[in-house]
Every structure is written in C-alpha cells, then in structure tokens.
C-alpha cells in the first residue's frame, strides 16, 4: 500500500484518501476493500495486459478502447440450436447421447449461485436453493427424470460459470447468465428465457437518476461482479472507479458499509438487492440488454437442444410466464425462441 508506482495501487490509495479521517471501522473496511480491488486488478492484469489501467486512471481514450474485449462475431447471439428430435419421455433418453449419461447418473448437475435473491438464492428459512433459475432447473430435471428434485447443485460465482461448463464439472449453468458471442466461443446457450437489462443501484438520498449522472458525479465507486458482462459494460463510464468483487452479494455488503457508492448489475439482481435494503434505489433506463440463457457444453449440442425443447414447452404451457409472475411480479410475455445456429463439427 505504500508504493504508488503502479496504477492499481493508486486506485486503492485514492479510496483510502477519500476516507481519511473517518473512524478506524471504515478504515478497516477500506483496507479490506483495497485488498479486494488490488487482488482483482492483479488478476485482470494477468489475463489481459493494459486493461488493468481502465478503472483507475482518469482514462485516456486508449485505455477504455483496450478494456472493451474484442467482440467475437457469432451472428445473432440469441440464436440457439434447433432441436432435431422431439422431447423424449422422462427416463427414456436416447441411447448414446449425453442425456442418457445424465439419466444413468440419476442426477442433473447444475451450477448456480446461492446469493442472488429471486433468481438463485439459499432460503435462510429452509436452507434450500430457490428462485427463477432454480425453477427452470427443476423443470429440466423433471423432463429427464420425471422428478424435479433430482438435482445436484454446485454453488459457483459469476467468474466460475464458464470454467464450470468447459471443465465438465457441471451439466448446465442456470445463473442469470447473459448470452453473447464471446461466451458462445466457449459454451453453448439455450434460447433466451428472460430479458434483463443492466441498471445501477444508488443510495436513496442520491440525486442521480441515470447511470450517466453517476458517471458525471466523478470518482464514484461502483461495485460489480468479476466475470460478469456488467463489469465489462461499466468500462464505458470513464469517470467512475470500478470496485470488482468475487461474489455479487459482496457488493451489497460494501454498499451498506459505505465502501462503495453504487452497484451495477442486472435489474433482476438489483431488484433482489433493493428488496434487502430499503435505503437503496434502482435508477434509470437499462443501459445494456442482458438476455439470459441456460449454458451447457459445446460438446453435447443434444443437451442444449433438449433444454430448448423444455423451454419451448414452458412457453407453450404458460409456466415460463408463471415464473415471471411468481418471482418478479411481471406479466410481460417471455422472449420467443430464436434458432438458426448449427452445432460445430
């Protein structure tokens, strides 16, 4: 913390300076936060060179350019694999497919979060995972086994979602995951099952009404989860200071401790935060569309096709709309399926 030779350390010093003179309590929080920031920036630095400078320096145009990753071209990102078979009966998965492997195993292994209220969170009362994403996973398990509870959960954070799929440690990821071309390069997505948008959450006494206002405020500390599309999108706002965290809900802790001024995430997530903190407001129009899909391995397109069939059924029988109502009190129709992508090879 004593060195000021590198940009990441200047960031953390800046944070500490703004808080100097406060009680030791916040000083300690700051140190923890500074540690978080330094660690994560170091992590970013390992993976992508000059990107680390983006949140800290008062941003030359160049640093933000490099911070936006090269967008892979995959055509229409929400286009998924057209199913090439009809939905098989439960416990009758076609031989030789990965579906059969799952059936034989007796459990569907689902990677998800445990702290995203409304989508995938651990209900403190029951200790069980609940939410929109969990219900979708139940529907898929039900279609495979005839029993919605034949699921083994692996609780992961945002940054672990892609690795969990590519390493084969989970069958599917149902975890507020945005479909985009960069991710299509590594994993397959189902058709879109929910349309979310990125927003920002501020203190209830804040005068900001849009993300632009937060940006204009200058030096505002904005929290976002590592490995999320949100943190990438935040790179476009050059006057804010990005505070990355491993687990999304750490943002709410830091916000309540006064260690960050705002949180940016999908409106779905922020709605969950707002429900836990009445002194917070979610402001402005969405500044980025986040289209949710179920992630699965590129190696087994039949699994993604199967999930698409299940989602199709849920659109038809109204259960997808019912989930919107149940968890988000929304009555907007779920997004329609888009197909047209061909499995590689």
């Amino acid at each position: 913390m004593t060195s000021t030779s590198t940009p990441p350390l200047r960031t953390t010093n800046a944070i500490e300076r703004t808080r100097s003179g406060h009680r030791t309590r916040s000083g300690r929080t700051m140190r923890r936060l500074a540690g978080l920031v330094a660690a994560s920036i170091a992590a970013v630095a390992c993976s992508s060179g000059s990107q680390l400078a983006a949140p800290s320096t008062t941003s030359t145009a160049q640093s933000t350019k490099t911070s936006a990753p090269v967008v892979a071209d995959c055509g229409n990102p929400v286009a998924s694999y057209q199913p090439t078979f009809v939905l098989p009966a439960p416990n009758a998965m076609p031989a030789g497919t990965y579906l059969k492997t799952i059936q034989d195993r007796g459990k569907l292994i689902v990677g998800t979060a445990s702290d995203v209220l409304l989508f995938s969170y651990r209900n403190p009362l029951s200790g069980q995972l609940e939410g929109f994403d969990i219900d979708v996973a139940h529907a898929i398990a039900k279609a495979i086994f005839g029993d919605p509870n034949k699921i083994e959960y692996r609780v992961i954070n945002y940054a672990q979602r892609l690795p969990a799929i590519t390493s084969g440690s989970v069958d599917i990821v149902a975890d507020t995951m945005t479909i985009n071309c960069n991710r299509w390069a590594q994993i397959a997505f189902s058709t879109e099952y929910y349309h979310a948008g990125q927003k920002v959450l501020v203190r209830s006494d804040s005068t900001a009404t849009t993300m632009d206002d937060v940006n204009k405020g200058g030096g505002q500390r904005v929290c976002a989860a590592k490995g999320s599309t949100n943190i990438v999108n935040l790179g476009a706002y050059k006057n804010v200071m990005t505070v990355p965290v491993d687990d999304l809900t750490d943002c709410l802790v830091l916000f309540q401790q006064g260690a960050v001024d705002a949180i940016t995430a999908d409106d779905t997530v922020l709605k969950g935060f707002k429900a836990q903190d009445k002194y917070a407001n979610v402001i402005g129009p969405e500044f980025s569309s986040e289209l949710y899909g179920i992630g699965a391995s590129l190696k087994y397109p039949e699994l993604t096709q199967f999930v698409n069939l299940v989602l199709e059924q849920m659109r038809t029988d109204g259960s997808l709309l019912a989930l919107n109502t149940k968890w988000l009190e929304q009555t907007t129709a779920p997004p329609a399926a888009v197909y047209g992508r061909l499995p590689a090879g």
Partner: protein
C-alpha cells in the same frame, strides 16, 4: 568487581612463594600479612554472599517471568480457542437455516465474551511490544461481532446478504485477528523459553563464587596455621563450615527450583501447549466442515483446510498420549468422513442434517465430547503449571535470605579469627 578481586586473590597469596625463603624469615614480624589475609578472606566471603544471593534472586526472577509468560501464553491460546469456537458455532448455525438453536447462540455469546474478557486481561499483562497488536485484535473483534450481528439480522429477515456478512466476518477473523494472536502467542512462548535460559545461566555465578570462596578460605587457613604453628584455628574452621553449609543449601535449593521448573516445562507446560493447539485446530476443522456444506458442491478448498486442521489437532493429541481424547477426536473424524461421503454422493440434505443435528452420533455431539474433555484436561494442566512455577520461584525467597545470613556469620567468624591472632602481635 568482586570477581576481579577474587581472581586477584590467589596470585596475591601465591606471589610470595618464589621468594619463599625470604618470607619465611620475615613472617614472624609481619602482622601486616595477617591483615592482608583477613581482608582477602572477608572480601571473598562478601563476594560469595552477594553473588550467590544475586544468582538465586536472578533464578527466582527468571522463574517468575517464566510463570507470567506461560500464563500469558495460556491466555492468548484461550482467546484464540474461544474465537474459533464461536465462529464454528455461528457458521454451523447458519447452515441449519431458520432460527439458530438457542444453545448454539448461547455458546457463541459465551465464546465471544470469554474472548473479550481474556483479551483485556492479556493486554493488561502484555509485553510492551505486544500491546499494539492486542489492541488491534480487540478492535477487529468488535468489527467481527458487528458483522456477525449484521449477518444474523439479515438472516432473520430471510435476506441472502446475511451469508455474505457471515463470510466477511470469518474472513476478518482469519486476516485481522488470528494472525495477531499467533504472533503474541509465539512471543509469549519465546519469553518462557528465554526465562528458562536465564534461570539456567544464573547457576554459573553461584558455583564460580562458591569455588572461589572455598579456595580462598582454604589458602587462608593454611597460611594462618603456618604462621601460628597451630593446625586449626577454630573460628576460621567455623567460617569455612558456614560457607560450606551455605553452598550445599543454596546449591540444593537452586537445583530443586530448576528441576521443579524443568518438570513444569516438560509436564504441564507442554501439555497446555499441545492441548491448546489441538483444540484450536479442531474448532477450525469444525468451521471448515460447515463451510464445505455452505459452499454446496464447491467446498473443495474448505475440505483441504479441514484435512490440514484435523491433521494438526490429531498430531497434537497423539503427542500427549491421551487415549480417551484421541479416541474422542477420531470419533468426530469418523462422522466427518461420513458427512463428506453423503455430500460427495449428492446427498447434500443428508450431509447437512448430520452436520447440524445434536443427537448422539452427530457431528456436533461427537465434537462436543472432545471439546469438553479437552477443556477439562487443559484447565487442570494450566492450573498445575501455574502452581508448579509459583512453588519453584517461591522457595528461592528463603534461599536468598539464608545465603546472606550465612555469609554474614562467616564474615564475623573470620573477623574473630584474625582479631585474636593480630592481638598477639601488639
């Protein structure tokens, strides 16, 4: 200075030897030589009294320091244990979901209040170099309890942010509190060790001064008998006897104190350290067990932590050769293995039930058996340690007074011996 005088003494008496013939012809008319001999003998006895006294007093001081440092080490270990125990309970209670069991809450509160009180006591007894660290630990402890209360408050409203507060609290304990305690604990243990070394070194002054005073008195006696042509000079014999008794008594007392102290170190002190290590690591393992389950399916790092902590705890228990504690600890490990088996086979609910229930054969029940038995044994060992070190240093009080008294009496006897002979030359 006294040592220099003592070292100078033998040459002073030996110096006349080369000129033996000349001295022999001169001695009858040299009361001055008697005076010099008396002065050297008196100086040797006084030097003995002072050095032997200082040496016993220094051993006493060292043993008192050892006792205080050992008590401080025990205190710090207790703070550490109370905190990991409280954290293990808080973490386990979260895993249950819903309302935490009342006894777990009480256990947590007791752990925190013991830790806070003991930390205050430790700060009062701390070495200057440890005070800042302990104050920092105390401040961090206040933060820790604040975070745990936020976690509970959120949990009671069914807000998942509660778990995030819990994790932050546990992380704070790991980063800001426990390392400080480890440092203070290590420095207390170092001080115990230094105090033992000092106590050990105290014997040199005693034995050196003993040898010197005896040598001086024997030479003086030989000199005097050759001057007076009498074999024995009673008062000088008495003085030598007094010094001899003082040496035997002082030597015995010092050796006894040192062997008491050594047996305290190899007995109860080693026992308290081993038991404290075992308890701290066992509680850390218990916390890790809860965290593997809270991290549902993603708990591999915590299982590695469990293995490490359990290994340390188990080795510490093996080292004190207590079969009943050893089997109590392995009974808990058996349940843990069963929990991992359930979780790894996908039966998370079964694993959680086994990890959070209190009925016999559960993780909590088997762990409590070990925790209570080891606590009882630790309390006994700590009390034993303290009383043995108190005894060892207490006995040396008397030794100091006795050594001074004997040296004084010996000085008086020497005075009498020479005064009588000198009178004959008036």
């Amino acid at each position: 200075m006294a040592v220099a005088a003592a070292a100078a003494a033998p040459p002073a008496t030996a110096a006349p030897l080369p000129a033996g013939m000349r001295l022999r012809s001169l001695f009858a008319g040299t009361p001055g030589m008697l005076k010099a001999s008396m002065a050297i003998s008196l100086a040797a006895v006084v030097m003995f009294g002072v050095l032997a006294g200082l040496s016993s007093s220094s051993r006493r001081q060292s043993l008192i320091s050892a006792r205080h440092a050992a008590a401080q080490a025990v205190r710090i270990q207790q703070v550490h244990t109370s905190l990991v125990a409280a954290d293990a309970l808080a973490t386990n209670a979260f895993l249950v979901g819903g309302l935490e069991p009342a006894e777990q809450r009480t256990g947590y509160e007791n752990g925190i209040s013991t830790a806070a009180q003991t930390l205050t006591a430790a700060a009062n007894h701390a070495d200057a170099s440890d005070v800042a660290g302990l104050q920092q630990a105390n401040a961090a402890l206040a933060d820790y309890t604040g975070l745990i209360e936020s976690a509970r408050a959120n949990n009671r409203q069914l807000f998942p942010v509660g778990v995030a507060y819990l994790k932050q609290a546990s992380a704070l304990l790991l980063t800001d509190v426990l390392p400080v305690l480890d440092r203070v604990s290590a420095s207390s243990e170092q001080r115990v060790s230094n105090a033992y070394d000092d106590s050990d070194n105290a014997r040199y002054a005693f034995w050196i001064s003993s040898v010197v005073v005896l040598a001086v008195l024997l030479v003086a006696k030989w000199k005097l008998s050759s001057v007076t042509r009498r074999t024995f000079n009673l008062p000088l014999v008495v003085a030598t006897g007094l010094v001899l008794v003082a040496i035997i008594y002082g030597g015995a007392a010092m050796t006894l104190a040192s062997s008491n102290a050594d047996s305290a170190r190899s007995g109860p002190y080693r026992l308290t350290t081993a038991l404290a290590t075992a308890r701290i690591d066992a509680y850390a393992a218990k916390s890790a067990e809860s965290l593997t389950l809270i991290s549902r399916g993603n708990g591999t790092p915590f299982e590695a932590q469990w293995k490490q902590s359990y290994g340390t705890a188990s080795a510490a228990i093996q080292s004190i050769d207590d079969p009943s504690l050893s089997s109590a600890l392995s009974a808990y490990a058996t349940v843990h293995v069963a929990i991992r088996l359930l979780d790894d086979s996908g039966n998370w609910d079964g694993a959680v039930a086994k990890a959070t229930k209190f009925d016999s054969g559960s993780s909590n029940a088997t762990f409590t058996t070990f925790a209570e038995a080891s606590a009882t044994r630790l309390d006994t060992a700590a009390a034993d340690l303290d009383s043995r070190l108190a005894d060892a240093s207490g006995n040396l009080d008397v030794t100091l007074a006795v050594l001074f008294a004997f040296a004084l009496l010996a000085a008086v006897a020497i005075g009498v011996a020479y005064a009588g002979r000198l009178r004959e030359y008036r």
